[in-house]
Symmetry: C2
Subunit: 360 residues, 2 copies
């Protein structure tokens, strides 16, 4: 707690989406102000931030002024241009660190890092050329999925290869970007572990949640997840190992495929994560506050779960259901203040408190 | 739900203190923006508001611009100058309404209103002169408490009269303001009922909380309160009667003295209330969101309690305890971002989740 931030300090947040919005709210509970840096106009986080800078990541003067106005910097998304990071990290501390960003910005680096820790991932091969892809399909088999190594998000930059003949179309879909072919894993379900590590090196891990996706976008996360006691322990331990190996500070989302034999790491996100939104209504300290605590040098908070919760995303025109959802019992609504409900756009979510946890 | 506000709408809040801050956060969860009007610089609510007007309540141009920028107006404190209300209510809807403000701004009006509903209050007499006070002491007896009829808050404008000889000093303490002498009630404890009424006339009432004061300032509120089942029902019903009689829209705090014979209404506050802060960590929909729902014309939300909770105020240098409180299990911290910890100043509060409610 030596150099912990005191109430009144300002936390800089790169990115002004819904994650930045909920980080701002959590920061306010601890007496902090936030300053959001976002290229787009009217970002969701601006409604609840003390200050907003609207400028592109290439605007060095704006970046310098932002750094001067804040005490520490964090981010709500991982695809921050390297030049902006270079400039900012010379001026103010940035958490999570550069290594965490580098690993999660590139699927190949990520898989190399994870397998280097002895963790299991789906079979994979790097793909730079059509020939690489043919060889990779030969090695891994089909079905498989081809993904750009960088900038993937919510199912973008991905193409399924159900049989070898799909290779040409999938390769074209990468648009010349370096890619990686991943073998399909016969997993029974996917779970997420939301883990946090403080500046003092302490680690706190929320109970794993079980994810269901629709059209490549997270639909629901439910806690508790279907896991055996030993799977649950394994999931928590492997998340801790990842955080420690990266000397990580903040909250990370770790997506895992569950098979009868193993837990395979699908991907890691160096930020608060959609699959951790249930913590807002299931824990005394939610993932957003946990991240702010870590970044501010506070001790991590109690992330134990006091209720079974189902989080459901409201995508696009799902927001039209809000009047009905507003009448539901034990249901907490979280809207992001976005004006236009485009298909696939995350407009909000609800947390349903299913039942309290006995003896919590 | 005909003219309910839609996400993206702006709620104007008169007053920028901690209640306005927490109203802003709740508004953001429903996709609303807030615009805070506050004469003082750097108000706590400004950190999480979309817009802030810093101007005195006498600045008509600022009031007009504020009204033009918002869709509906509410407030976080009841002592708003009448001239400002006159101007604003001609321009935009204000909830709760003028009658609720008039009743709660004046102790005599309040007591007349409550007794007119057939509710019990402490014995009282109006006091304009020294002679009134002598007669009131003669009629009510001592100990008693002399209070200005207007602008009372957190024990200010009050003087205890333990014996008739204290009268002169107590009268002087009123500074020539109209006052009311209240007889001491032999109550065993005080409870608060946080009640809400929607624009459609529906009423929702949170479970009563039990209050403990220190030096005239709320120290803790604990749910459940010590009440029999019939007292609990009575408390809820009388709160509903008050809201209906005022055609009230929004959240109200009703403080009750509990005696073996009766529940006496101590005072009503036409706003979210310190004794309702426990709802932030005990209910899916807290008092702040409930107020925003009512003001925005939404249906009231589910205020059923899923946990036993103790709220403790952090007053003045209590904030120095935050590093220790941050380590407590099942404890949610809520700080208001105030820079200076003056004695008696409300700096924040914590909600301790004591245990989940079985079958909630």
């Amino acid at each position: 707690m030596t150099d912990r931030l005191h109430p009144g300090a300002t936390i800089g947040i790169l990115g002004g989406g819904q994650l930045g919005r909920m980080l701002s709210v959590a920061a306010s509970r601890l007496g902090f102000r936030t300053h959001v840096f976002e290229p787009g106009a009217n970002p969701p986080a601006a409604d609840v931030a003390h200050a907003v800078t609207t400028a592109p990541y290439e605007d060095e003067a704006a970046l310098r002024a932002f750094a001067a106005a804040v005490d520490v910097i964090t981010y709500e998304f991982e695809n921050i241009p390297t030049s902006a990071l270079d400039l900012l990290e010379a001026l103010k501390p940035i958490h999570p660190n550069r290594r965490a960003l580098a690993v999660s910005q590139d699927r190949l680096e990520e898989k190399g890092f994870l397998t280097g820790l002895g963790l299991s991932v789906a079979p994979f091969r790097p793909v730079a050329t059509r020939e690489d892809l043919e060889a990779a399909i030969h090695g891994i088999g089909t079905p498989a999925i081809l993904k750009t190594t960088r900038l993937g998000y919510d199912g973008k930059g991905q193409a399924r290869i159900m049989e070898p003949d799909d290779a040409a179309e999938a390769f074209a879909a990468m648009g010349g970007q370096p890619a990686v072919l991943e073998g399909f894993v016969r997993f029974t379900h996917e779970v997420s572990v939301i883990a946090a590590r403080g500046r003092d090196g302490s680690v706190a891990v929320y109970e794993p949640g079980e994810n269901v996706h629709l059209s490549g976008i997270l639909h629901t996360t439910t806690v508790p997840a279907r896991l055996t006691a030993s799977q649950r322990t394994d999931a928590v331990l492997l998340a801790g190992r990842i955080l420690n190996a990266l000397d990580y500070v903040g909250v990370m989302g770790v997506e895992l495929f569950v098979t009868p034999e193993a837990l395979l790491v699908n991907e890691i996100a160096p930020r608060v994560h959609n699959s951790g939104h249930w913590t807002q209504n299931g824990c005394a300290v939610d993932q957003f506050e946990q991240h702010i605590r870590a970044v501010a040098g506070w001790p991590l908070g109690d992330g134990s779960r006091f209720a079974d919760v189902e989080m459901e995303n409201l995508i696009g025109h799902d927001v039209a259901r809000v009047p009905a959802l507003a009448l539901e019992r034990n249901t907490a609504i979280h809207l992001y203040g976005k004006a236009e409900a485009r298909p696939g756009r995350k407009m909000g979510h609800v947390n349903r408190i299913l039942r309290p946890v006995a003896g919590a």
